[in-house]
């Protein structure tokens, strides 16, 4: 009677679960990258101002909306009292406030051309389709500003109160911060949508 020894397992061959994990992460990174390149279409615009101003403000606004939305979604586990997300929330709130400021600053620069007397978008919109200006642009130019003080306030509160924000005595602080985070996400997303709506009707 002969006995066969089992063949050694080939450790260099990746397991299906490893390949699947790489695919999941890879596709998520590709999807996020693809979405962030949405403003790149601006470089194909016939308007020279839209080509560079629109691209820069578009990237700043989209990045801001993505970071603010990511932060806003963390308000759910924060409200449930999950402690492990706190360090991430403190840094993310800071970055969200910073990119919101960059979106606002680039928006100021773009707003100059929007109002320009020579073929500016504002005069054309008010003459031809006033709803776009009064409904979307008025909302856009004011509500995007709301994200900055809300973001700074959330950053300060999350940093200052540290892990103690989850204690029962600080329940009002926790709830107030979650509400402010959600409001920030609401205005960040609204700013992106209203800005895109204006841009698709008339370029800079």
């Amino acid at each position: 009677m002969t006995s066969r020894t089992p063949e050694p397992l080939d450790v260099s061959t990746p397991r299906p679960i490893d390949i699947a994990t790489i695919c999941v992460y890879g596709l998520s990174i590709l999807s996020a990258g693809l979405f962030l390149f949405l403003p790149l279409v601006n470089v194909l615009s016939p308007s020279p101002w839209q080509r560079y101003m629109g691209t820069i403000h578009g990237f700043a606004a989209l990045l801001s909306a993505v970071v603010v939305a990511y932060l806003g979604h963390l308000a759910f586990p924060l409200l449930r009292g999950v402690p492990k997300i706190l360090p991430q929330m403190r840094t993310l709130a800071f970055w969200a406030a910073l990119v919101s400021f960059l979106a606002i600053a680039s928006g100021n620069w773009v707003y100059m051309r929007y109002r320009a007397p020579a073929n500016g978008a504002r005069a054309w919109l008010r003459e031809n389709t006033p709803l776009v200006h009064y409904l979307f642009m008025e909302y856009h130019e004011f509500t995007v500003l709301f994200t900055l003080p809300l973001g700074v306030a959330c950053t300060w509160v999350l940093w200052q109160y540290g892990d103690s924000i989850l204690e029962k005595r600080h329940r009002p602080v926790l709830v107030g911060t979650c509400l402010a985070l959600m409001a920030m996400m609401f205005f960040g997303m609204g700013g992106l949508v209203s800005g895109l709506n204006v841009a698709r009707i008339h370029s800079l």
């Binding site: 992460y25 100021n108 006033p130 709301f146 003080p149 103690s164 709830v175 911060t177």
Partner: protein, 156 residues
């Protein structure tokens, strides 16, 4: 090598990169050394932020109604680059720069005042919630106040 280090080293590069980003800057990630014992400072920060949104929109209506006030507000925004620019191609920000300035001032001043008033007080959840809700809702609704010159609204 500890178990934690071994586990960290086994993670893919992009996961380790993302984990590092989430903890940056480290001083913020760890939080402050000592937290306030009362809710007052947090309430001051949150309520003043919401108040500045409301103040921005109130000021916007005042600017729409009174030209003289609009000019004063515009002059307050002179420090922002592009506030006034005679170039017809690149345009100017206009009185919007002053409105941003009014918002900034109302935010910082109200934060300073409220933080002094509430620094040793416990502010109730109902107070924080009511202030946040009222200011933010009013500020949002005031974007479409009937005082704006709405008509004619439809495309030609």
């Amino acid at each position: 090598m500890t178990a934690h280090n071994r586990k960290t080293k086994l993670l893919p590069m992009y996961v380790r990169f993302w984990n590092q980003i989430k903890q940056f800057p480290g001083g913020l990630a760890t939080g402050a050394d000592a937290s306030p014992p009362v809710s007052g400072p947090a309430a001051a920060a949150l309520v003043s932020a919401a108040f500045s949104c409301f103040a921005l929109m109130v000021n916007q209506h005042l600017c729409s109604m009174f030209d003289r006030w609009n000019e004063i507000v515009w002059s307050m925004g002179d420090w922002i680059p592009g506030s006034k620019n005679p170039d017809p191609i690149h345009g100017e920000i206009g009185s919007y720069s002053g409105k941003e300035t009014v918002m900034l001032i109302s935010w910082l001043v109200s934060w300073l005042v409220l933080s002094q008033l509430w620094k040793r007080k416990n502010i109730r959840l109902s107070t924080i919630f009511t202030c946040l809700f009222m200011f933010i809702t009013a500020a949002t609704v005031m974007n479409w106040h009937p005082l704006f010159p709405y008509l004619p609204l439809m495309p030609k």
